[in-house]
Structures are given as C-alpha cells and as structure tokens.
C-alpha cells in the first residue's frame, strides 16, 4: 500500500496549478498582520533609545500616563526577573534593562485608545541617559581596548586572553593544511568584508496581543512560526506556553526575520496592564530597520592553495562576524559550514568568532552565513582562476563536491547536485553571448544544508471525500499549493479537492517555523505520512466491506482496489464513497504525523551574471542573470523558480546597494526604504532559471529545500563580473557605484 514506487511518475507533482490562496491575495481579502482588529482594542507605540550604548539612569512616565486616552505603560520593571540564557536575551531585547544596547532598543511602551494618542504619549516619557562608549564595526569590536558590551558573556569555547566582545569561538577542520599549501603552485590569501543587510520584507511586524490577569492570552500575528512566538513570548513574560494561543495571519515576507520576537511581548504586557484589552502593535519601517534582526556583518580571511591545473590542495578561513549586542546570534558556524562545502579538499581548516557590537540582535536571513562565506571563498577562487588563466566553471567541475566526497565540515555527502548545476550552467545559451566593452561575466556557486525539524500535521477526510490538511508552517510563498499537490498525488485525488489551512497553536503539536527551507520538505513529508495513515484506514474500511484482508488492497487513483485476482473481484471503492459512509463504518477518518525530521537534502546552485559597468558613474547594470539550482524535485515549478529569482534579487541587492550605515554616533543613518535601497523593477532584467532535479532520498518525492541557496552565489558572482568588466577586484560589499568609480579612477 505504501507508494514507494511512485517516485518518478507523477500525475500532479510538477504541474503548475493556481495557488489555493491566490484569489484572496489578488483581491485584497487576505488578512495580514496589521489587518486584524479586535473589539475594544488599544494601540501601542514604543519608545526607543536614540543612543547606541547608554545607561538608563531614570525613566519618568508620569506625564505620559496622565495623557487622556493612555491605558497602560510598561517598562522593564513590568517584566519578571531571573530569566536565564536565551530567554533572558529575548526579554532584554524586548525591552532594555539598565542599559540601552543599540540605537532603536526599546525602553518603554504605551497602549492608548488610538495610534495617534499612543505616539503622542511616548513623546512625553522622559528618559535620562548616561551615554557610554560604543562600537558597531566587527573588527573594532574585537580590539582589546574596544568598549565592552557585556562582561562575562564569553562561553567556554573562547581561548584565554581574547577580548571580551568575542563571545564564542570555533575551530575545526581536517587534513594536513601545511602539506596541502606546500603542494600548491599558487597560494592566495585575501580579506573580504560584507555589511549587514536586512531581510526587507515589505510587511512590517504586526500583532494584536491579549492577555488577562489569569495568564490566558491570545495573539494574532504575522510570523513564520506561531509556536516559536508562543514559546518566546511566554518565556519573556513568565507564562505557561499552553495558555497563550497564537494564530498566524498571512505573512508579508519574512526571509528568516519573522522566526523570532522583537516587540511582540510588549503587546501582551500592555494588554495585561490594561485589564486584558487587546493591544495592537505595528512597527514602522524605521523601527523594522533599527530594531528587528538584520543579518550579521562579516570580516573574513580566506586562503586557498591550487595546482596549475586548478586542483585545490588546501583551504583555510577565519571568519569574524558580529550579530549585535546578544551572544549566539552571528551565524558564524553556519558560515563556516557553507564556506568550502562546494569543494573536495584534502586539507581544510576553519576558525570563527562570534562578536558582540552595539547593533540590533541579528536574526536569520535566507541561508544565514552562507552569502558572506560564498562572497569570500567564491571571490578568491575566481581571483585564482584569473591568475592561472583557468575557466571558472571547469575549476569548479574539477574540484566540485559530489556523492561520497568528505565534506569540508566533516560528514560525507550523500547524493547531491552541484556538478549537475555546473554542467547545466555551462551549456546554457547565456554563456554563448559575446560580451561588449565594459561588460563582464561572473560565475559562482553556493550551498545550503537545508533543515527538517519539528513537524506536526493533521489531515481529515470530509463527508464528500475531499480533504482538509492542517499545517503549522505559514505559507510564505505558495507552499499551500505544494502541500495540496503532494496530498493529491499521494491520495490520487484532484488538487482542487484539497484545502490546506495554516492553523493556530492549539490545533497541532509543536511545529518549527517556515525556516531553513523546510516547509515543502518537512511539512510535505509529514503530509504524505499523514495521508498514508489515512489510506491504511480507508483500505481497512474497504476490506471490512469486501470481507478480505486489508493487506490485499491497493490504493491508487483515489480508490481502494483489490490487489489482484486472488483478492477478489470488487469494483474500486472511491474516497468519496468511503467518506460518505465513514460515520457508519467506524467513524471519522484522519491521518496524523508528528516527528522531528533530520536528513534534509542539501541544495547547491550555480549562478552566472552578465553586467555592464558605466565607466563614468561606476554603476553596474545587470544585463542577464542565470540561476541553476538543484531542487531535488520541483513540486510546483513556478514557485521553485520564484524562490530562485527572489533569492537572486536579494543577493543582487546585497552585492550592489544594501548596507546598514552607522554614523560615528552609532546611530543607523539609513532607516528607511529610500536610503536602504532594495532592488526595484527597473534595476533588474528577467532572471533565467534552470531547475536541476537530483532527487533527495530523504523525501518521498525527492524534495530538497530551495528557498535559501539562491541568495549566496549572487554576492561573489557580481564581484567576479565586476572584476571581469573593469579589471578591479572589490572585496568589500556593497559594490556601490562610488566604490567602483574610485577603483576605476585609481588605475592599477
């Protein structure tokens, strides 16, 4: 009965039906975070520190509290004390204690009868600050004389004698590095820097929180993961997890940035203080940029040894990353894992530093760590290919990881598709286009390990034979369509007969968020398991009716069939018939599955960009762009292409324009979409895609997560193309027009 044999022959998978939530989203009906309102609701506003680092000497709230319409005001004094570890840091980031740790750190919050009154009220709060020395640059933060963000925050991994802002240290590798480098004909080493970038989701964080004096509460919120919100908000407030019900709205983009909490618990604290009235908290764009979770900035040294024929002999990397004022937030470990994953290396070594700075608490951003690592490593590989006059794709084909390769981070790769992406890129028509003056071509590959994780799911058969699937991973880019396709394929019923609902925390066991490119993999896999459980039950109902052994029944085309002539001669019993009769034949039919999935299939990708540099302005115009990536199996190819294209666009923005700019005063200088400039439609060409399918053996249909990998290769691919066009190697992102122009003017 289990349908192991359907792995390569599909009726629904690989088709491109309209997404189930499409109609709601093109008519304005879909409800996003800020679209929810509750009766008797109040509106919140948050007062934030204008200083990068300051002691909070005194907060006088009396004038604000006296303003007509103000119903509640909270400071850190309204939160429980004694929290430890991650819970403490979540609380401290929600609202500052004795010190503000970054520009934008929340200091107090108000709930009032209207948003206008709440905004007026926070202006009346008087805070006395004692400004402390600050540091926002990762390399400066590592100096012995740098301002100390936290005393005693170093974990046991940090060797004695390192400055206190280094809070974690990594050191791993294998092989004889010295021997490897001495075998090489060319050894090159360079330093690369990337600046912090923001996920830039268009929907600001928004929630409505309601909490009674009895500790029972509700939250409606745009989030990638309702259970994470529940766990974190209740920890910060000292509540029991199950007493808070979190209902996810539609989500207007996340890219990792909505997997955690920032100000959400303030709405609950305000609600409790206002006698349980619901409190709506919507961030402004400026608050989103100043006080949510941009990615880390990085400073990286990479060294590679290569033979004249391009064969790599050894590689090493030292990565320094700051993840804001909170330990454990810089994705240094993942960056190191990604750094050399593309390559077969006899000897490799990684060192990483997690560094504190006076910046906001970093959050995940699409393949956290991988883009920075790719920028450094893939830039250096390109530099060496140029030095040795070798083709960059051929060098990657020569050294590329494949099934059986001992990975740079230890384990041996199972079946992976890097080589296939390189071959597909090499034969793509874009590479035959001849380039003109001031034009350049750049190539780079990238990797993301992908994730499975905690997953709980439920499917239920309706009386008419249609199916409801309840999932815990918010649909951030068309995943309801993928789930419905996998269910219809498994059950053999039409796509339209499946309704997929993203449900609240009371309806399922714990689910991790839609993160780590896990939804189509893990939720999809669990959906297949749940359907298989229901199929088993449906076969049993048919067996009871026919009076034969359930093992003698096959399920296909949406019906139970006798397995062969020996099983008996019965007409197929359809899912509609079983649904209609289920109340009388043993009761409701449903399928459940709950597990923690490991073993997600890795996804590799290769990008090729052609661009033209205007020698007068330094501006790079993307002429054509190619993404080739291994999807394992594309369930809904349009949304797979969409992930490729979206990742590429974000990477292009990070490479060319986007950066957090801090002034000497430690304040963020570009906290708006005018100055934090993400790519617009006129900045980009069509983004060509090739979906490579090397099925992963860890998913019933071969799915590999596809969301993350695509953001890594653009950073180096663009730097490589700029070098091709201008002869100038830029090793510090973003490669903005002034930097390019300066490099061109400087000659050499």
């Amino acid at each position: 009965m289990a349908k192991d044999e359907i792995i390569n022959k599909f009726k629904y998978i690989g088709t491109r039906p309209n997404r189930p939530d499409g109609l709601d989203k093109v008519t304005g009906r879909a409800k996003y975070g800020a679209d929810f309102n509750a009766p008797n609701m109040l509106h919140a506003a948050v007062l934030r520190s204008p200083h990068a680092h300051a002691r909070i000497v005194k907060i006088d709230t009396s004038k604000a509290e006296a303003l007509s319409g103000v119903k509640a005001l909270v400071t850190r004094a309204d939160f429980p004390t004694g929290l430890k570890g991650e819970d403490f840091y979540l609380q401290e980031n929600t609202i500052a204690g004795d010190r503000a740790l970054y520009d934008g750190h929340a200091v107090a919050a108000v709930a009032a009868t209207s948003a206008l009154v709440a905004k007026d009220a926070i202006k009346l709060i008087e805070v006395e600050y004692e400004i402390l020395p600050h540091v926002t640059d990762v390399d400066e933060a590592m100096q012995p004389d740098a301002p100390v963000i936290r005393e005693g925050a170093q974990d046991h991994s940090v060797p004695d004698g390192l400055p206190p802002n280094i809070v974690s240290y990594m050191d791993f590798g294998h092989g004889d590095l010295e021997a490897g480098f001495s075998e090489a004909d060319l050894v090159m080493e360079n330093t690369y820097k990337t600046e912090a970038a923001h996920q830039g989701y268009i929907e600001p964080h928004a929630c409505v929180g309601q909490l009674g004096q009895d500790g029972k509460g509700d939250m409606w919120i745009c989030t990638q993961g309702q259970w994470f919100i529940r766990k974190m908000c209740t920890a910060v407030l000292g509540l029991e997890a199950s007493q808070l019900r979190v209902t996810p709205s539609e989500i207007g983009g996340g890219f990792g940035g909505k997997t955690t909490i920032f100000s959400e618990a303030l709405s609950l604290a305000l609600s409790r203080k206002a006698g349980g009235r619901p409190v709506k908290l919507v961030m402004t764009r400026s608050e989103v940029l100043r006080a949510t979770g941009p990615t880390a900035s990085a400073s990286m040294d990479v060294k590679i040894g290569m033979k004249k024929n391009g064969k790599m002999t050894a590689a090493s990397a030292v990565f320094r990353m700051q993840g804001g004022a909170f330990p454990g937030m810089a994705p240094t470990g993942m960056a190191l894992e990604c750094a050399f994953a593309n390559y077969q290396l006899p000897a490799v070594h990684h060192i990483g530093y997690d560094v504190l700075s006076n910046r906001p608490k970093s959050a995940a951003y699409r393949a956290p760590g991988s883009p920075m690592a790719a920028f450094a490593v893939e830039s250096l590989v390109d530099e060496m290919c140029r030095e040795l006059n070798l083709d960059p794709i051929d060098v990657r084909l020569l050294n590329g990881s494949k099934e059986g390769t001992k990975s740079s981070f230890g384990p041996t790769f199972r079946k992976i598709g890097l080589i296939e992406t390189l071959e597909a890129a090499k034969s793509h028509p874009n590479l035959e286009v001849k380039l003109g003056p001031n034009q350049g071509r750049g190539i780079a590959s990238g990797y993301w390990m992908n994730h499975g994780g905690e997953t709980s799911i439920s499917m239920a058969l309706g009386e008419d034979g249609t199916v409801t699937l309840s999932i815990g991973t918010p649909d951030i880019g068309g995943s309801r369509a993928s789930m419905a396709l996998m269910v219809s394929e498994t059950l053999g019923i039409p796509y339209e007969d499946v309704r997929v609902n993203v449900v609240e925390t009371g309806s399922l066991g714990v689910n991790e968020p839609t993160h780590g490119s896990r939804a189509t993999f893990a939720t999809g896999k669990a959906a297949v398991e749940a359907c298989n459980e229901a199929i088993k039950e449906m076969c049993r109902r048919a067996a009871d009716k026919w009076g034969i052994d359930p093992e003698a029944i096959d399920w296909f085309d949406g019906a139970a069939h006798p397995a062969g002539p020996n099983a008996g001669d019965f007409p197929p019993m359809t899912i509609k018939e079983i649904g209609r009769r289920m109340g009388r034949t043993g009761g409701p039919i449903s399928g459940h599955h709950a597990t923690t999935y490991g073993g997600a299939g890795e996804s590799f990708g290769t990008h090729v960009v052609d661009l033209e540099v205007d020698p007068e302005t330094g501006r790079a115009t993307i002429l054509r762009y190619l993404v080739v990536q291994d999807a394992g199996r594309a369930i809904h190819p349009s949304y797979v292409e969409g992930q490729f294209q979206g990742g590429a666009a974000q990477g292009i923005g990070w490479a060319l324009n986007e950066e957090y700019i801090y002034g000497e005063d430690g304040r963020l200088q570009n906290a708006g979409f005018l100055d934090y400039r993400v790519p617009v439609a006129s900045d980009l060409p069509m983004i060509d895609t090739v979906i490579v399918e090397v099925p992963s053996d860890s998913h019933p249909f071969g799915v590999r997560g596809v969301g993350e990998t695509g953001i890594a290769p653009p950073l180096p691919a663009i730097a490589n193309a700029i070098a091709d066009a201008t002869g100038k190697r830029l090793r510090h992102l973003p490669i903005s027009p002034p930097k390019v122009l300066k490099a061109i003017k400087e000659g050499s």
Binding site: R16, N18, R19, D21, G22, L23, K25, V26, T27, G28, R29, A30, K31, Y32, A34, D35, N37, S114, A115, L116, Q199, G200, Y201, I202, E203, P204, E250, I251, G252, G253, G254, F255, V282, T284, R285, I476, G477, G478, H636, S638, Y639, E641, G642, Q645, G646, A648, A649, Q650, G672, F673, L674, V678, P679, V680, A681, S682, D683, L684, M686, I687
Partner: protein, 159 residues
Amino acid sequence: MSNMHVTAKINGDETEFLCDPRETLLDVLRDRLNLTGTKEGCGTGDCGACTVTIDDRLVCSCLMLGVEASGKSIETIEGMAKGDTLHPLQKKFVEHAALQCGICTPGILVAAKNLLEKNPDPNEEQVRYWLAGNLCRCTGYDKIIRAVLDAAKEMRGTS
C-alpha cells in the same frame, strides 16, 4: 483634535467618514473604512504597497491626508474586480505565480492597471519603470513583469 467630516467616492460608492486631520488616507481606508487590502509597508512613499488611484492618478495613500480626499474619486484593490469577474491582471498574476507573500500585490495591481489604461501596449522596460515605485522583495519582479505583459496582451485581444 476634533474629527472632520469627509465625503468621497470610493470604488464607485459615495462614502462618508470622520477622521482626525492628522490621519493619512491610508489610515482612513484601513482603520476607518476597513478596506485593508491597501497595505502599509513604509509610511514614507518609498514602497508603493499603499498605492491607490485618486481621480485616475496613482498616489501613495500614506502620503496623502484623509481630509484631502474630500470630493475625490478613489479606487483601491477592493474595487478592481467587477463583481465576480476578476480584472485580467488579477487573473494573470495568479496564473503566472507573480506573487509569493502577496503583500505588495494590491499596490502593484493598482499601479499596473493604471499603466494599461494609459498605455495598453507597454514594452518590458516601460512596465519596469512604471512599477519602479512598487517594491517586491519576494519575486525578483520576473513573473510580475510577465504577468503584466500577458494581461496587456489579453486586454488588447491579441492573445
């Protein structure tokens, strides 16, 4: 501050509302009239998620006060489909998978409709520049541009 009384035509219907003089048209649409299809992404006119038309002219509703709408004719995403018939752009956006999260979609649809009313046969570059004020962070714009061009073709009757 006392509220002001405003009358405007919204999606063809005469509509009255009260608003604080400091409230933006976007606030009025979303919070006073419950027309939440128009989104707020930035509040500073940089992202285009709040795009509506005022007397057939594209406007970021976050940059206009509610009281300024007096006597005007406003079209929002809620007025785009005629009854149960979707506008060709709405249909093509779903068919082309031109949305991922969908938060920018209402603004982009309103802006694209306005383009096709002014220029029924735009080329790719014209679509890209017309939509340059509407940020999309998910799609890289590729499928959005294709959907607009395909809808234009269908509306010209040449598909």
